[in-house]
Each structure stands twice: as C-alpha cells, then as structure tokens.
Amino acid sequence: MNGLSRYWLPVLVLGFGIFVIGGAQADTGKLRLTGGVNSIDGVAGGGLTPWAIIGTNASAGERGVSAFATRVKPKDYALDVLGVVAGFNDRIEFSLARQEFDTKATGAALGLPGLKLEQNIIGVKVKVAGEAILDSDTWMPQIAVGLIYKDLDAGGLAPTLDALGAKQHGTDFYVSATKLLLAQSVLLNGTLRATKANQNGLLGFGGTAQNDYRVMPEFSVAYLLRKDLAIGAEYRVKPDNLNPSILGAGLKEDDWKDLFIAWAPTKNVALTAAYVDLGRIVPAIQSRKQTGWYLSAQVSF
C-alpha cells in the first residue's frame, strides 16, 4: 500500500502537467481572490476549510489550474504542503496535495526520531447550486459538495495506529455554502464535513473509542479591505476519536482556528498569512497548545 502510494501522486501530477500544457487558457476571467486560496488539503477555500467556490481563475466555459505551497509552523511541529488544483467551467474542481508533517521531538520521544507523517490527498468538488459572487440580490449562497480522499504513510508509527484501531486511509465528504455579501464587503462560508479523521488524517482515521463518521461544522468569515486584500477568521470543529485511547487522554485533539490575511498582488498570485491555533497535538508528549503561523503562496491561471 505505502509502496504504491509513493507512485500515484507523481503520476497524477504528471497528468496535470500534460493538462496544463495541453490547454489551460491564458486569459481566464474570475475576479481577483474569488477563486479562494488553498486549504491544507489542497481544496479551494480558506486555509483550514473548503469553500463552495471552484478554484483557479477559470470562469464559466473555461478551464484553469493553480499550484500552491504552504507551511504551517505550530510550536512543536511543522507541516509542509504542496499541491495543484484544476477547475473546469466554474463547476468542477480536482485537487491533489501532498502533506509532510514533521513530528520533531514527539517522534523522538516515541522512539521514532526523524518521524515524518506523509499524506497524499485527492479532492473532487462539484458546484450544485447558486452563484456566490454575482447573485448580490438574494441570500441564496453557492453550494458545492465534495469528497477528500487521504492516504497516510505513517512510517514507524503505523503499528501504533493499528493498535489504536485507526485506519491509514479515509475519505471526508462535505457540503459547503459560500456567500459574498457584496454591499457589505463580507464573505461567509459554512461547511459540514462528515469525517473519521484524527488530526486531519495525520493520525489515521477512526479509533477504538469512536469509529463512526461524525458530521463537523466549519465556519469562515472574511472582510474585503480592497479588491486585492482580505482579512478573516476560521473555526473548524474536529472529532476526538482517539480520546480516550490506550494512552488515556494523551491523544486528545481540539478544534482548529485561524486569523488570516490574503493578498493578491496580481490576478495570478495570492499570498496568505495566518495565525493558527491547532489546539493540542499528542498532549501525552506536548501538552501545550500548538499555536503558530501559516504561510501559503498560490499561482493560478
């Protein structure tokens, strides 16, 4: 499984490359920032949560691509993400992302120095109703449904996850509603995500304490300061499937929050910085809250 998973992402990325060379349009027509940024799972939206908008600059009748790199640096860990997104007809979005989570001192404390948890992630999103940006005369939001498939390579931690009853692949299903309140310069998003993921999948999916899908709400609010600048906040409720576990409350997890600022210096570039609060991550080893920063760069066409 892990041997195979090492290969499918590069193959898919190559496929994306061919797609880009083959015909992503040069002059796509979304308004600036309305394609969103990339969440840590790759999906277009905020930084931690998917939105109903379709990523890239492609508007109706067009196709587009974007690529991004993100680094999240809470106190005792580091997460690096690389990914690509394709958008078709402002209707369908495909995304690929690769996460590398450096466990730093926690891995060493578990007898696994240098342990990195890696996830390959595929996302598919379809817009099913509404028009988030231009339908300024109604309250009807844009609505999209999607799924996010994650394949975890836990390295030396795999036997521990097996013992905890956590699977090493899983799929999230979500529905998102996004609305730009143009007259107020405010963008709102609400997402309901059905998930089994522990720490977004980095500690597997499900566990002996709780192994069912749970539906978790996520919220984003953004205020547009200029046409190229937005600030906002996000809140993502997470399940707590590994609490209690054989480690007692040592794997308890918390909701995720952030405060962000997004800047699009040109139509094709977006930079996002955020202060994140990821709560506790493996408090058995690191008991303090994992607050820190988030930086992301995106190019899109």
């Binding site: 002059d27 028009e131 007259a183 107020q184 609010v221 405060l259």
Partner: protein
C-alpha cells in the same frame, strides 16, 4: 479569536442596518451626484472601448448615448433623482453573446474607473451590489 468573530459579525450587522436605513441617496452622494456619475461613466466607457476583452461589444455602439444611459441608470439605482428610460438589460444585451468572463472583465474595468475617481472601496461594493445581479440578464453565453 472569538472577539474578532464577534467584531466582524457586528460590523456586518451594522453594515446591513445602515444599508437598509439608507433607502435614501447616500450612495448617490458618495459618487458625486449627477456630475460625478457623468464623469465616471465617460471614463468607464472610454476604458471599455480600450480594453481588449470588452471592446468588441461596443463596435457599433453610439458611445455618447451609452454614457448618458449608464449615468441615468446608476443615478437612479443609487437613489438619485434620475429616470433610466433605456431598454431593459435583457433586451439590450440580446444577441451580444456576453460570457461570464467578459462580464467579470467589465466589472474590473468599472473598478478601475471608480479607483481613478477615488471612490471608497466600500461605496464601490455597494454600487457593484446593485449591478452584479444583472448578470442573469446580461450573460447569455
């Protein structure tokens, strides 16, 4: 975090309230009334004709008539004492094959024109909110 959310929601609620209570001409005044709108639409139309993504739509257009009609339309929408007497948006754009991308290009050109007149971003968005929903009648492709 929670405090910021509350502040943002409060700002939003107050924004709503002020938007509702101003069933008046505050937006019209923010755009410099009839004189300001006339200058803005003169510049906007010049920019539309110069912009590669939109110029084709105006090849056979009487530009001075278009400027007058746009001025009247925005004047009326923003609460000013004008009456737009032109055609409705649907019949005015019939057969022009405007796509969503071109509509967005027009919005960008309007934003540039409003920037050039130093109209506050919040007022720009209040005006755009009155115009954006017209996409349903204008986009035909």
């Amino acid at each position: 975090m929670t405090r910021l959310l509350i502040t943002l929601l409060l700002a939003f609620t107050l924004g709503q309230a002020s938007a509702q209570s101003t069933g008046n001409d505050s937006l019209y005044k923010a755009f410099g009334e009839k004189a300001g709108l006339t200058l803005l639409m003169d510049d906007f139309v010049q920019r539309l004709v110069a912009e590669p993504r939109t110029q084709a739509f105006f090849k056979n257009t009487d530009l001075s008539r278009l400027k007058t009609q746009l001025t009247d339309q925005l004047c009326m929408l923003s609460g000013g004492p004008c009456k737009y007497t032109g055609r409705d948006m649907k019949s005015a754009h019939m057969g022009m094959a405007v796509g969503k991308s071109e509509f967005n290009a027009l919005v960008e050109v309007l934003q540039e024109a409003m920037d050039a007149k130093n109209i506050a971003f919040t007022d720009q968005n209040r005006m755009l909110a009155l115009l954006a929903s017209m996409h349903r009648d204008i986009i035909t492709k």
